[in-house]
């Protein structure tokens, strides 16, 4: 079985490399086609002569052709260099490191919350033991998923400040007496809002109901065995691993908005800023990292599924 897992991993690795090339190339082309220019980060273009602006572009290497710039970028990447942020002048790798772990904390906790909420709701609904609780939870899930995440963010800030007298913003090192609210509220907003929770619940519930109808479950029930032991692999591990992998892009996207609203100094804010600045080295770095996360999650999902069901490796 290990051999199969290894083979699957190798295959995915190849696909990942191709994907990286395509994603970064697409990003490069898109950015060069987009209106706007990182030059205005450095100077007020209106107050300079065209020659002076051209000199700035030359200094930044923006006057070279697109293939050349992409080639240079790839060459540096091959040496492990992600380039330098046009905005801050710091290496992109440092910027990603400084903000990435905060986003990981936010998105990881949010996804854990999504899964917790969805699993409980789906389980209760599928087992049909507590129909009222299940319906209420499902309704809450749908309602929260239906709200735009930025609006939910403002709403959460409003409720937290007026009802509980706490401000759910990321506090700096300089703030005293910060509360847990600054961490919990954005996690709740991203975990239960952002449109994912209802989808995960529904998917999981459908899957669970399907599994519950299987013959081996009926047999297990008949012989009085623990239902959970027979259920968790097909009922939870399989759908959850694929759901998790599929939802990562959405959660990362939601994090951009949530980080803005809650002043969370993570990668989402970095991305937002870099996009407004046309800071293409930073944007490419973020793209690459996001693609990497999505792929790693996908590969892990494949690995988990192959481990659970070796037939899938064929």
């Amino acid at each position: 079985m290990l051999k199969r897992v290894a083979r699957a991993l190798a295959r995915e690795g190849m696909r990942t490399a191709v994907l990286f090339l395509l994603v970064t190339l697409a990003m490069f082309v898109l950015l060069s086609r987009a209106p706007g220019d990182p030059v205005s980060l450095y100077v007020n273009v209106q107050s300079l002569s065209p020659e002076e602006v051209e000199a700035v572009r030359h200094e930044l290497g923006l006057d070279r052709s697109l293939p050349v710039r992409y080639g240079v970028w790839l060459g540096r990447l091959a040496q492990g260099d992600l380039g330098t942020s046009l905005r801050s002048g710091r290496p992109v790798a440092v910027e990603l490191w400084k903000t990435g772990w905060r986003t990981l904390l936010l998105t990881g906790s949010a996804m854990a919350l999504t899964l917790l909420f969805a699993s409980i709701t789906a389980y209760l609904a599928a087992m049909k033991r507590h129909p009222v609780v299940a319906s209420v939870l499902t309704a809450i899930g749908y309602a929260l998923s239906g709200l735009p995440v930025f609006w939910l963010g403002y709403l959460a800030i409003y409720i937290a400040t007026t009802r509980f007298q706490v401000l759910p913003l990321m506090m700096g090192a300089e703030s005293e007496g910060g509360s847990w609210a600054f961490f919990l509220v954005p996690v709740v907003v991203l975990g239960l809002g952002n449109g994912t929770v209802s989808e995960v619940t529904r998917h999981l519930r459908t899957h669970l109901e399907g599994v519950l109808r299987e013959d081996y479950i009926r047999t297990a029930r008949a012989k009085g065995a623990s239902l959970w032991r027979h259920l968790y692999k097909d009922g939870f591990v399989m759908p959850l691993s694929s759901l998790l992998a599929n939802k990562i892009p959405y959660v990362l996207g939601g994090a951009i908005v949530v980080e803005q609203v809650f002043n969370w100094p993570g990668m989402g804010r970095l991305t937002w800023q870099a996009a407004s600045d046309r800071d293409y080295p930073t944007l490419l770095g973020v793209t690459l990292l996001a693609a990497l996360v999505v792929r790693v999650a996908h590969v892990l999902k494949e690995a988990v599924q192959v481990a659970v069901n070796p037939q899938l490796a064929e």
Binding site: N44, L167, G172, E174, Q260, W272
Partner: protein
């Protein structure tokens, strides 16, 4: 709207009376306490040369000094230079520098004081090809800068200009602390961790982006009263007020107009108004054959109820304007009154211009079955949601006059591309911010219509061109004023822009902070005199 749209370049420096010793202040107010101020957005760099945004401009007021600075009335006052003389031909400026100005400790300057060679070196860095800075253009006027002796500096200009002294207010940096003392690029650690001479010195930039500053005990005008000053960046303007109300910040530099009433009602805070030299306008593209007609532009002005918009969207916190200068400027012609709201007059003018048939859709007919219609391009800016309301109101006002307005919202950089490069718009809503020179030459001169030039509306009038050149070449301020007032009158009549208003900004500061005085756009020029009473620290 956006600070990036700056007509004329904004200069400035730290000001204040030159009294006080390097040890402490003699005003008797207590030292100590901390002030956290909230800004919208974090500065890209923290030095005064590569920094190119308002957040950075305000921050560098705290960390650096120039040769000269400005008083609260915007007069040039001494700063690092204690005195100066000007040659009879107005080209050579000789500055005598104070001998007690020390660099911040982190510059590792040892016993070294700031001298003429530092000023020369700073100018050299600004003008170096590898330094990317907006300051380069204004300092092109400097032909030569040389050290006469340790504390004497001589700057020679290429030609005499008005208010040259005010333009020589660049901030001095310790060039020996740069990675390469000849130029400054953004990847130089100095750009993120600079040292200067100002009342506060940089202590730390946290991972969250907070810029922590502490009192410079060696400050030549005396130690500032506050122990600590922290810039806290926020990514969303809507939560800045919440941060203030929940003690996450003691000060917000620009309060969201919507939140002013709420802060006003809170006894913990004081609101400080300040008038930036800026105004908002609708700009009309002269390439559009309909907008090229003066009557149409005048009709648009008459049909726009500007007072109503100012009252309802900005709670009347501003002033209507009639021409191309900010009302706070010396160049503004108070005799020219803003056009009144008069829909009948608007219709009359449109009829005069040949638009007298109304189509089935209720709009005036322009040509074969097409209504008289224009596209209004609006930059999407998160920090300014009110602009959407203005656009919608404008659409309604124009509908009443029989003009159809199509709204098109564009992302900021895309908007700039459309407006400044492609000139692809009929009407834009925008904002100009000025320095004190009140120089509108690039806005309305017919030679300034190329890509990225400021006359993006394509306005061309030989009389105006003539007046602009005359205003630029004269050194006599009174004569300049007369010319500018004539320009004002002509442009008010011609309406290349529908001139809207200038807004009053408000900073909110916690009551515990006393003696708060603000510079109109640099804000923190006088922050070394702010203090917090012992009991409230």
């Amino acid at each position: 709207m956006k600070s990036a749209m700056v007509a004329g370049v904004v200069f400035g420096v730290l000001a204040l009376s030159t009294s006080g010793s390097a040890q402490g202040r003699t005003d008797g107010f207590p030292d100590g306490g901390k002030l956290v101020y909230g800004e919208y957005g974090r500065p890209a760099t923290l030095d005064p040369i590569t920094s190119n945004d308002m957040v950075g401009l305000r921050l560098t007021e705290l960390l650096f000094n120039g040769l000269v600075s400005f008083s609260p009335k915007n007069e040039v006052v001494s700063d690092i230079a204690e005195s100066w003389t000007v040659s009879p031909d107005n080209r050579v400026y000789t500055f005598k520098l104070r001998s007690d100005v020390k660099w911040h400790l982190k510059a590792n300057a040892g016993d070294r004081t700031v001298g003429a060679d530092d000023a020369v070196a700073t100018l050299d860095v600004i003008r170096h090809a590898r330094t990317l800075t907006s300051l380069k253009a204004p300092y092109e006027l400097v032909a030569d800068a040389r050290k006469v002796d340790a504390q004497t500096l001589e700057i020679t200009l290429k030609r005499p200009i008005v208010n040259a002294l005010g333009r020589l207010s660049f901030k001095l940096i310790p060039t020996f602390a740069l990675k390469n003392p000849e130029f400054l690029s953004r990847d130089d650690p100095f750009a993120q961790s600079p040292s200067g001479t100002g009342p506060f010195q940089l202590a730390q930039v946290t991972d969250e982006g907070d810029v922590v500053m502490e009192a410079n005990t060696l400050y030549f005008k005396g130690r500032p009263h506050l122990d600590k000053l922290v810039l806290k960046p926020f990514a969303d303007k809507n939560v800045l007020t919440q941060a203030l109300l929940f003690n996450s910040a003691d000060m917000v530099v620009e309060v969201n107009p919507r939140d002013i009433a709420q802060i006003q009602g809170d006894k913990r805070f004081n609101l400080y108004p300040y008038n930036a030299l800026s105004y908002t306008f609708f700009g009309h593209n002269f390439k559009n054959p309909h907008l090229a007609k003066k009557e149409v532009r005048q009709a648009i002005a008459y049909a726009t109820n500007r007072q109503e918009m100012l009252d309802s969207f900005y709670a009347s916190r501003g002033t209507l304007i009639s021409g191309p200068f900010a009302p706070g400027s010396w160049a503004y012609n108070l005799d020219v009154k803003p056009l009144p709201f008069n829909i009948a007059r608007a219709k009359e003018l449109l009829a005069q211009a040949g638009y007298n048939k109304t189509g089935a859709d209720g709009y005036l007919a322009a040509e074969e079955g097409k209504p008289l219609q224009f596209t209004l391009k609006i930059p999407i800016e998160k920090e300014n949601e009110t602009i959407k309301r203005v656009a919608l109101a404008f659409q309604n006002y124009m509908k009443a006059a029989g003009i159809k307005i199509n709204l098109e919202f564009r992302e900021w950089q895309a908007w700039k591309q459309d407006v400044f490069v492609d000139h692809d718009f009929d009407i834009v809503i925008a904002n100009w911010a000025f320095d004190d020179s009140a120089d509108i030459s690039t806005l309305f001169h017919s030679g300034e219509t190329a890509a990225w030039r400021n006359n993006f509306v394509g306005y061309s009038n030989p009389d105006v061109d003539g007046l602009i050149v005359e205003a630029k070449t004269t050194l006599d301020r009174e004569k300049q004023r007369t010319i500018n007032q004539r320009l004002h009158q002509t442009l008010a009549e011609e309406q290349p822009y529908t001139f809207l208003w200038t807004l009053t900004n408000y900073a909110a500061v916690h009551r515990k902070v006393r003696h708060v005085e603000l510079h109109p756009f640099k804000l923190f020029t006088f922050a070394d005199t702010w203090y917090i009473p012992k009991k409230e620290q």
